[in-house]
Structures are given as C-alpha cells and as structure tokens.
C-alpha cells in the first residue's frame, strides 16, 4: 500500500504495465468483437440484434466494476491519505461514466426493435441511469473547488456515501419495477447461455478491463504531471515576488 504511495515509483510501475494492458486489450477486443459480431450464431428469437449484447453487457459490468474500484480507492485515499489512490479514483470516474453511457445507449438501440421502445422505466435501466448521475455528481464535485486536495477528499467522502447507498438504490428500484431479463451469466448453477455466445462476451469483458487499466495508467500519469506543473507554477510565482 505505502509502497505505491510514491508517485514516481507508481509511475514507473504503471509505465511498465501500460503496454501490456494495451496489448491485451487490443487482442481481446479484436478477438471478442470479431467472434461475437461475425462468427457467433444469431439468436433464434432476436436474430442479428443479439450482437448488441457483446458491447452492452461488458459495458454494464465495467460501469459497476469501476464504481467499486473508485469507492475502494477513495477509502484508501481517506484512511491513509494516499495521494495516488485519490488520483486513481479521479481518473476512473470519466471512464466509468463513459461505460455506463455506452451501456444505456446500446440498451436503447436494442430496446427499439426488441421491446418496441427506446426507453422503459425498468429497474435495471433506471439503476444504470442513477449510477450515471452519481458519476456526474462525483465529477462535478471534483471541478467545484480551486484547491485539489480539498476537492479530492470531498469527492472521496461522496464516493463512499454513494457506495453505501448504491445497493439500497438498486434493491429499491428492483422492487419498484422489473422488465429486464434476469442475470444469465453469473448464476448459482453456472452460465445459462451457449458457449458460442459466452466466450466472445468474456473476451470483450477482459478486453474492457485491460483497456481500463491502460486508460487509468495514462490518466493518472497525466494527473501527476498536471500537479507537478501546478507546483512549479506556484514556485515560479513565489520566486518572482520580492522577499
């Protein structure tokens, strides 16, 4: 934990990981999308429309996974005043929001031919929409302060409050209304879908995870450099002052 708290050491590790993460992402995404979009069988009910799922489902997983990662990073940042964890949480939010948005848009594109409507106020759609709003609120809070250390800790508290509340929101929305199909991959009896569909799905999911790590490495590096630039600007400004 503390080993990673040194931004320079963290940067070295992330620079070493980055090409690997990028490579794995590229290979998995090409293989997964190629298999899923070109070679997997069409569904007997949904025909070709089912292929939207190869983008939709992994995006939904990532939307939730990144929030969980953000909440853990925020807890680490608050408890140990871990500077890099704070930046990792900040760098994760736009990625999480983007995946959530992709999930919502692809869901709407699939819903139009299948359910006959772009949007229904179903439990899963609604809870993804709320997750998207929570990401936006988190990013807005980061932008609302001039002092980055104040912004970082306020945002970390918000991420943790959201993490406590998200399961409650999820269950309350589930009881409220449900139309979306129930989970079919992570069930107690094992996956309920055919391997020809499951494998490309998992490949895309792994590809997205690797892409996220690649993106995180890049964004955290940018954040660290930006903070250094800020410090240098302050130092230059105070050197210019007499006394």
């Amino acid at each position: 934990m503390h080993y990673l708290a040194n931004p320079a050491r963290f940067q070295r590790i992330m620079t070493a990981i980055r090409p690997w993460a990028g490579g794995i992402a590229l290979v998995c995404l090409i293989a997964g999308f190629g298999w899923g979009l070109l070679f997997s069988p069409p569904d007997y009910q949904q025909s070709e429309t089912v292929r939207i799922m190869y983008l939709h489902v992994p995006s939904a997983w990532m939307g939730m996974f990144i929030y969980a990662g953000m909440a853990v990073a925020s807890a680490v940042a608050l408890i140990w005043r871990h500077p890099v964890a704070e930046l990792a949480a900040k760098a994760s939010a736009p990625a999480g929001a983007a995946f959530t948005l992709v999930c919502l848009i692809t869901g709407a594109l699939w819903g139009q031919p299948m359910w006959g409507t772009w949007w229904v106020w179903d439990a899963r759609l609604t809870s993804m929409l709320i997750l998207f709003f929570i990401y936006l609120g988190y990013m807005a809070l980061w932008e609302a302060f001039d002092d980055p250390s104040r912004a970082g800790r306020a945002a970390a508290i918000l991420a943790l409050v959201g993490a406590v509340n998200l399961p409650i929101i999820k269950f309350s929305v589930d009881w409220w209304n449900t139309l979306h199909q129930p989970a079919s991959v992570l069930t107690m009896e094992g996956p309920k879908i055919h391997p020809d569909i499951l494998w490309p799905l998992l490949l895309v999911a792994v590809g997205f995870k690797a892409y996220y790590i690649w993106l995180l490495a890049l964004r955290v590096r940018a954040e660290i450099l930006e903070r250094q630039a800020r410090m240098l600007r302050f130092a230059a400004a105070s050197d210019g002052q007499p006394g």
């Binding site: 929570i134 809070l141 104040r150 508290i157 918000l158 959201g162 509340n165 929305v173 409220w176």
Partner: protein, 221 residues
C-alpha cells in the same frame, strides 16, 4: 446535552425568522404542487392517480432549496469555526443543525401535505399513510441533504451542486414514500413501505452526521 438543544433552538430561530428559509420552502412546496393540476388538467381520476408522486417529488425538491445555506452562512461569518472548537463533538453539532433543519422545513411540509393531498383528490384512506410516510421520510431528506451541503461548503456553484449530489441518493425515499401511499389507496397495508422508510432513516441517522462532520472539517482546514 444542553449545548445540543441550544444549537437546535438557535438554528430554528434563524430558520423561522425573517431571514430564514422555512416559510419560503413551504410556499415553494404549495406553489409547485398547485402547478400540476394546471399542467396536466383538472380531471379528478388523473389527479388522484398522480397525487402521491407529485407531493413526494415536490417535497424532495423543496427540501433541496434551503440546503445550500445550511452551513454556508455559519461558515462565512465564522460561527462554524467556533462551533467546531466547542466541547460538544462536531458530529453532534451537525446532528443538531440537521434536526433544526428538519423541524423548520420537513416537519411543516409533512403537516401541510394532507391538505394538499385533499386538493389533489387523493383517496381519504391514504391520508394517514401519506402523513406517516412524510414524517418518516423527510428527516432522511435533511440528513442526506446535509452531507451534500457539507461537501459543497465553499465550492463554486454550491447551490446547484447540492441537488445534483443528493437527489440520486434519495431515490429509495421517493420509491417507498410513494409506495406507502399507493398501497394504502388500493386497500393494502402500508406498513412494509413505512418500515423500509424507517430502516433508511435509521441508517441515515447513524451515518450521515459522521459523513457531514468529516466534510465540514475539510472545509474548516
């Protein structure tokens, strides 16, 4: 404990006084609700169908109005610094301020809501459920809202930011609050919804003063 009640009294006095937001909040609540019949039409069946949702959404929005001033005024004139140095733990100070906020806004909203519900043609069997649900739900609005208000203390555009942060977190209150009223209107028992509202309140009561106090401490550093 006398310090706790002194803070409640002081905040309540400010809240109900000429500069306070209590009266404005209630006026907003009444006005927002009376816009709906003008917007959707005066048919009694339609109004009865949407009355629970309209009242709850209006209550959620009205509670947001006064939130940005909850700590801001005390922060600007330095009162908050003194309160933070007082022997009373900051968590309790915050809890006292949140209680005063609820007494000044949430409680009057809940008490006036049955009257507005009658104007919206709500089934009279549902009125006790509405009152109980609002009495259990509005404290959660103040508690969760207090976290948002504390987090945005000293932020740019704090007033716009608070609803953006807190409204998504308050969705369970809306769902169970409306659920209680609709269950009572259709002759079912409202108690499951009321119990869930109570559970949410219990959780918020335990967690929110700590989170808000941590956020206020940040602002005072």
């Amino acid at each position: 404990m006398s310090a706790f009640w002194a803070i409640v009294q002081r905040d309540l006095r400010i809240n109900l006084g000429a500069q306070g937001a209590a009266l404005t909040t209630i006026l907003f609540f009444v006005l927002a609700i009376s816009l709906f019949p003008l917007g959707v039409g005066p048919e009694p069946q339609l109004l009865a169908r949407i009355s629970a949702g309209v009242i709850w959404v209006a209550a959620l929005l009205a509670a947001q109005l006064s939130l940005d001033r909850l700590f801001q005024a005390d922060h600007e004139d330095g009162t908050l610094d003194l309160l933070a140095r007082a022997p009373l733990p900051l968590t309790l100070t915050i809890a006292a301020k949140l209680l005063a906020h609820w007494l000044g806004t949430g409680l009057p909203l809940a008490l006036i809501a049955p009257l507005l519900a009658i104007m919206l043609q709500m089934d009279s069997a549902a009125l006790p459920a509405l009152l109980l649900a609002l009495l259990l739900g509005t404290p959660s609005l103040s508690l969760i809202g207090g976290i948002g208000a504390a987090l945005t203390l000293g932020a740019r555009r704090g007033a716009v930011l608070v609803p953006l942060l807190t409204l998504p977190l308050l969705i369970p209150v809306l769902i169970f609050g409306v659920g209680a009223v609709e269950a009572a209107a259709t002759g079912l028992s409202a108690s499951p919804h009321l119990l869930l509202l109570g559970a949410f309140l219990a959780l918020a009561l335990v967690l929110s003063p700590f989170a808000a106090a941590a956020a206020v401490k940040l602002a005072l550093e």
